[in-house]
Point group: C4
Chain length 254, copies 4
């Protein structure tokens, strides 16, 4: 049993100069939310499932009572006009648990997309600020210097020494290992408080991807989710506030 | 030395369309208690021992002064009438220590039972509630949707989003990996407080298995164990109570 | 690079029905102290060094300024009369760090001693009591039931359910894995407080080994070490006592 | 994917009896600072990059917006006169994360340098004192006894039982594994408080290396860095001091 097993559902898709977009769980689940939304609205088709010994030994239970072994999943979406590229999309339940497993997983993912003709990839993640943010910006880092200027023109920003610790996990490693194998790539990191899943930050990331891919994506469902989360966040903060008030009262009584 | 070593005691048993039942240590030891009881009362015969580098480096000491390397053990039980299926039973001292080891172990177990003709399996575990429960229900999840209705008819229940975190460990992984290899399976999870080993929950699980397998199992010894545990639990709770009372007294004195 | 590398210093020793004695670091360092003493007083000769990736990445610095990569070492000692057996002795700086590594290491050790003709082994360790003990007894456990009676006659004792958790580490695993490969073995566990290295407990273990092997071992140096440790323990306990007294004084002053 | 991958940039350098100098991250970053300085001032040329699954799954972000997968790097520097040796230099972002990985990495490094003709190596590290030190001494340990006297003559010192725990990590393991493969080596450990990176200790180490290699190295930039760090350390200590004063004031007020 290998560390990574990839099961293709039918035959491998035939794609025209596809670009690869990754969004796995991470800070604020920004990347995962963005890619899941993209899959949903573009009606992308699943073509492969990736299983790994480096994921937890866990099944999820579907609403119909059946189980699903935790995995990552590959989708593709064919261009609907000449300006758009074909897309390969990756999302999933987990990143690898161990450092070595992360390397194995990322290399396995690269093997799949390179075989399908990918030369350019975008990896999506969150940049945790630890404080609230009204209008999340999207930071980026890239494999090749000539990609810096166009990314700025798409509205992504670059701040020297941010994130200070570099990029940890699949989004960074895909760029790092991919570059060694001749791929170009950009990592987009949506600013996020990082406390809760952040559809608002995912939206900011998708807006930039829309410009790059010329694919128009309806963001309304993501906006709905953002409102739900905002509501939950508010309630959590009110509960804390009430706790403080009650605490004050007790202090007065005492 | 492989991660998993399986030693067959004699030759492999010849079984007629056997079903596989797993019960390894876990929450409330529900699965292990159930399968151990089944082995005992049906006089199932051990046919293989599974050793693994992913178990602790440990021997237990038998009452006669000899040592036993920690392991998992396979048993079989032949049908005594035409309505019953042949059984393969698995129990043991430990599940794998590491995530990767769990995958290796479960795949090794699947290899054994697939070779012996298994197409259907039942994995047994506990569902920890964190509070006392009078009449434990048995929840289930399954590999295939068509198994949902019959399991409900056997008295198992399905509650949406329970367990919320899915199933972690061998009971879930056997279903997850088994499904990918064409096996059908159901995981039964007996409700349990989860504080102590729970023969009562194991009994509830076995009652359902009895209906499925048409094997009549004397549950009296399991009921005796349940009474012992109940007695211990009561004593523990009284000791806590006494502690509180004494604490109150001290407060009165103070 | 394998998990375990064994370097034979010259050619492999030719031994006559040798017995194998293991004493690696553990509770009270009882086993290591006993085997090191045995090596010293019987002038046993080193014939192999075992290195492993599962040891820490560490060198010790010898008194002459040179470094020594942490390892385990094999020694042999030829019988000096017909009543004695030839001995293979193992001691070292560490046991394996990981569970899987322990299995690899123990199997590698077994491969060496089986090739050299070993059919019987004695593994030595400590049994931590957590309290002081005047006359440490030596508990045992064994691979084969027929060894129980002779071991009792040699003065070792067996108490049901002790140690409750079985034997963890190389001393247990050598018996567990060895038994599967046809070896006989006994683990001797000297009772020890377990706080400090315990030459006194090592002495108790060696006394039994002397009866078994008919090798007379001068224990005086071990007794000197025991006195040193006793002195250190007393000083530590006095320091604690002084601390308490000073604490009392301060309380009086306060 | 192997644990270690080494990419040679062009062809392998042809070197004349080269000596190997290692300085990876560690206590006070003494070794890394020393080798980085040596690379900079001697204009050593990078000839290979080492990537490993045992490093974190991480990319750093360069000031120009591009990413760099964490790695170790090999450099060489050819002698400019007959008294100097050719040098192979190694530095990098990380040591291995796991114990087993450290062994793999060090063996891979040894394979490279042995193939390039290395017979002697110097590994550089810090010796953490836990207190400030004006004039850091340089301790050493070595693979071969005949190296002790010359190292003392170069100004390095040897104190029995220091460091008490031996040498942990690549600097020690290179000596330990290298010795088993016929290499000579010395580990130099610059005394350092160990709180911050310590260019001053790196300077002390380089002074000894200059005597050994007859390579004159301009240490001024390292001295500048040392002043910067000294300034930061002073500010940190003043901030603590101010905190204390303010604390006193508050106590007076209270």
């Amino acid at each position: 049993m290998d560390v990574v097993t990839i099961n293709f559902i039918d035959e491998k898709p035939k794609l025209n100069n596809p670009i690869f977009i990754e969004g796995l769980p991470g800070i604020g689940n920004v990347g995962k939310l963005a890619v899941e939304h993209l899959i949903e609205v573009t009606k992308a088709k699943k073509f492969a499932e990736l299983y790994s010994k480096d994921f937890p030994p866990q099944v999820f239970i579907n609403p119909d009572g059946t189980v699903k072994l935790v995995n990552n999943e590959f989708y593709y979406r064919k261009a609907t006009n000449k300006n758009q590229p074909d897309l390969i999309l990756l999302t999933g339940d987990y990143q690898g648990l161990s450092s070595q497993g992360q390397y194995e997983l990322v290399q396995s993912i690269l093997n799949v997309v390179i075989e399908l003709g990918v030369k350019r990839m975008y990896t999506l993640g969150g940049y945790g600020l630890g404080h609230d943010i009204k209008e999340p910006k999207v930071l980026f880092a890239t494999t090749h210097k000539n990609l810096v200027k166009p990314m700025k023109e798409y509205g992504a920003i670059f701040r020297k020494n941010e994130p200070g610790g570099g990029i940890i996990g699949a989004s960074g490693l895909l760029l790092g290992l991919g570059k060694l194998q001749g791929l170009e790539g950009v990592c987009f990191m949506g600013e996020t408080p990082g406390y809760l899943v952040d559809p608002n930050s995912a939206k900011a990331v998708l807006k930039i991807l829309m410009k790059i891919t010329k694919i128009k994506v309806d963001l309304s469902r993501l906006e709905d989710k953002a409102k739900e989360i905002e509501y939950i966040a508010q309630q959590l903060s009110e509960m804390e506030g009430m706790g403080k008030e009650r605490g004050d009262e007790i202090q007065y009584i005492g």
